[in-house]
Symmetry: D2
């Protein structure tokens, strides 16, 4: 009887129950021998097909993992406790779960953009306070997405998931992404642009960039002042991309409206001035972390392990690249 391939499952700081719906977990256990016991880890590692999660994997430990084909990151960030260089030199796949968040974030970002366009959240608050304004009186700053100028800062998983949702609005889409050649953007039927062009030409700006050493506070006061009066800014990727005090001051002054899902400190301090700004839509890091997204990660793990065990390449998780894996500088997005 052939033994089932061995998979070591250590998803911390994620939670196994969060990731795997019952049916997925059952299927995983049918097809694979699963170990979740940290005490067994070193003993089992030489026989393991794959590690799910990111336990400490320095080079010397990896050296003993002679059958390892993949490390499946289920958290969203690549911590430096794994020697990724050693993985790439060994031809071990490093797989990321970012695609699972793309659709949830894209739908949410569109919802935030329409909210900013039409004042949905603000006017709901007014209605509850008995201050609602009917029809055109409540629509003084309302604008349409249709035929609008849209800018993306970053064109990775999130941008690629958001773009088709915007297509029926027939917007003009300018994209800034320093990691991509212009040809890739033109192939996606968007216009390559500099960051300054994106900011100055767009009515709706979606900040979708991962954070790196190079783009901390990319959106500082000077850059925010490039935005058109009345522009709508949707920030759903990483807080560090924006200078928050500069952003708050412009929202407070009525220069622009913004929806914010990611914050420099989470939880946000009780006295954070953003909490009372009328021009903000406030969201507590909720764009991606849905039950269905977490369950999708579990299914992606199951599918890609099945692929690997069948001699096929992974197709659902994202193959991390040697060039980019060390550049991200973000903190975990999940609640610990």
């Amino acid at each position: 009887m052939p033994t089932r391939p061995l998979v070591l499952v250590h998803p911390y700081p994620q939670n196994r129950e969060t990731l795997f719906a019952d049916a997925t977990w059952s299927a995983l256990n049918e097809r694979f021998e699963i170990s979740e016991d940290p005490a067994e880890f070193d003993a089992l590692l030489p026989n393991a097909l794959a590690v799910v999660g990111q336990p400490d994997l320095p080079a010397e430990r990896l050296a003993r993992a002679g059958n390892l084909k993949a490390i499946l990151n289920v958290e969203g960030n690549f911590f430096p406790n794994v020697d990724y260089s050693a993985c790439f030199e060994r031809g071990v796949y490093v797989l990321g779960c970012g695609p699972a968040y793309a659709q949830p974030v894209a739908e949410y970002a569109l919802g935030l953009a329409i909210d900013l366009a039409r004042g949905i959240t603000r006017e709901d608050r007014a209605f509850r306070a008995g201050r609602e304004r009917y029809t055109i009186d409540g629509n003084h700053d309302a604008i349409l997405l249709r035929h609008s100028d849209v800018g993306f800062v970053g064109f990775g998983n999130l941008g690629r998931a958001l773009l088709p949702l915007l297509r029926p609005f027939a917007p003009r889409v300018r994209v800034y992404d320093p990691w991509l050649p212009a040809s890739v953007l033109r192939e996606a039927d968007v216009e390559p642009a500099s960051l300054d062009e994106v900011l100055s030409a767009s009515t709706f700006v979606f900040v979708l960039a991962a954070i790196t050493d190079e783009n901390q506070h990319l959106l500082d006061g000077a850059r925010l002042d490039l935005l058109q009066p009345g522009a709508r800014l949707v920030l759903v990727s990483r807080a560090a991309v924006a200078d928050f005090p500069a952003l708050y001051s412009r929202v407070e002054a009525g220069r622009l409206l913004a929806a914010i899902d990611v914050w420099p400190d989470e939880p946000v301090p009780a006295d954070d001035p953003g909490r009372s700004l009328e021009g903000l839509v406030l969201s507590a890091h909720r764009a991606g972390g849905m039950t269905s997204a977490f369950h999708q990660i579990g299914e992606m793990v199951l599918d890609d392990l099945t692929q690997l065990a069948s001699g096929l390449p992974p197709v659902r998780m994202q193959v991390a690249s040697r060039e980019l894996i060390g550049r991200y500088r973000s903190k975990p997005v999940i609640k610990e």
Copy 2:
């Protein structure tokens, strides 16, 4: 020198300045002789090409309008002070401005649906109250539009404008519209369904029906109980389609979430219980009445008058049908 065709402009209860941007008004005056003076109306009527608005036009008055080609309704409702039968018998076009509202309402309805799907408005309120919940804690009832079951009640201008915005989410769309044969729905790539099927099978239900004598309180308690637990209801057409107390009781019980833009009485009474329901998104008849929509009506008027003056049919406003014009039973949607 050829005289310009004569057009009588009496948009009350709409407002001429609201409808016509300066450039549109200038162009209209260049191409047409315009009269806005009620005192001149009867004297000028026999020579008029068209009437913009809906001043009293009983049969005997229409009988004197021997050159009249069209009545351009710029308000959204067809009041009974015009003898429409006489118009149809004379081959006078009765034109409606509904298409101008379709895109604004469609975008708004999508925004409301995503809000209900993800709790954007509710969680913004919580954030401002210092009660925000991060990531999955705030997403307990969050769902995706992607691959969801969507139902439309009514498939007129609004449904046709909303459908393409939903397409990238690849939903399964069931539509109930008693005024259309199933073939029309199948040609639009949606599934014809009974009202009960739409309600019981859909996670997202968009109420997009005009109100008639037959569909007052179409969504009564029994019908609302067909909805799945956790369904999201978006009401943007006419309040009279729904039984509001029945709707409130189900929202209060947590059976469903709803976004409401139209109300039985506007302004809504100060003590209306809906004002404090957590499961509602409250909106003060703001879906369609944007400046850009009103200006589009002005442009549609200009374009269609130009068509008529050139011996071409109107193509931007909606040609009202003899069969349906008497069926609508709605109150004016604009602020008076």
Copy 3:
């Protein structure tokens, strides 16, 4: 017992069996009392709800059709044997079947365009003659539709059906239509243009215009010379729009490639020089006349009669306009 509404069916020069699939004909007979007997026509006319076809209907005959609600044209052309003015003055719907041909013609036009882009028909002939050229040798003039410049001459039913088929190729689409204001084209997300702009800027030109007194030989030699060298011309609406000798001479000279489905004389004379031009794709008026299109006309008739009998407006056939009905100057498209 209520009697069924009376419908007079006289589809000549169309053929009843061609239009009505058995199930459609059965349903029609269940819902309506049908008369096909010319001898009964005058006696039954006063009670008829509708006439299907276009038997002679001068004003005096129409005057006796006191209950007539619609004339349903099932052939595609409006012959002058009906007094359309009398219809419009009476509020009798004149309905056309053009929409039934739109999808067949649109698919066919796209197929012809790709054929011209890639030489499919020409290289198939070469292959059969043992002269095939492999890979790049056979692709010397091959071009892509993707990101190409596309021009439409006319934007009626055909253009509206073709446009969505082209969208995934992300072309730049310029449209000339003298019967439409620019706003209608911009709303359709195409660029309004003059005829000369369409011809000079487009690599692919689709001639989709109905023929009128004004556009006979619209595409004469001078206009054809505006086309770019190597342009591809698809002619699927009416032959009279183009000057055929001028077109042939430019195709023969290698200035352009063309696909032709409509001809000045049909059948085309045996010695027509077009028969041997390598740069043509030859098609014998086959773009629209498919069995499924004819059957769809039958279904549209059934649906719209049902609508009318229910007090609802027709929604499948096209309501002809008083302004345009007299302008068309085309011969019957069906085989007699």
Copy 4:
């Protein structure tokens, strides 16, 4: 002064001039030091950033390429003269140019499908022979793509490029791909299916699969007999997938219509019986090999080398996987 990175360009059996438009070649030479001299190859290899083409690269030679980051295959097939295992173990990217052919092949496949649906090529031949049949007489077997059942055999680059072109036809798409989990297909909004389901349920079948040891003659007589009478088969990937005599016999018998772009032997023998089959559309391996596609390969090479030189991952060419690279069994597609 920093030296430019070194790139060794040996595209045989492709041709450098075919791949690189002048501007691309100039840009490549500005950014990189280029060597095309086989005599220098071994001496330069230790300093090379990348090799363009597939010269012999056994393990021992690769071992001396200490700075090598990528091998850029510009021909379309991975020959066994490169030790790919050594590449993967070293973390050297093996890049394929397949994506450059995807759009040309997809457009061509759609053109072939419409040709089969409507008889464009066949009726053009008849027209030239004076045997044309007008309107419905020539349309006896004409069908629409709209709302049809479509099947894909294989869902790689070609299928992914073809699918969006088919979307506006609103087909039902079933896909068989043994290398992909069902979830990937469902995410693409197609239906996963077995090969037999694809064949028996589809009116249009697109064969888009690469050839491997396992799928030689996948479409044998028994499988072809699963096809519906009148089915249309488009073969544009690899000839070896189909049993040609079995295919010919069914086309000859009128069981199905087929368009063939790839052949067991190329050039096709002069007496190949396929040359005279009326039910075939014959094409001489022309689906992908367009000038613009070859030039795109050159641009992809330039872009990805620029990415690599900037410490960024390749984004235009396709990163080959260790698992699949050895499975393909195809002959070169280009003309030698």
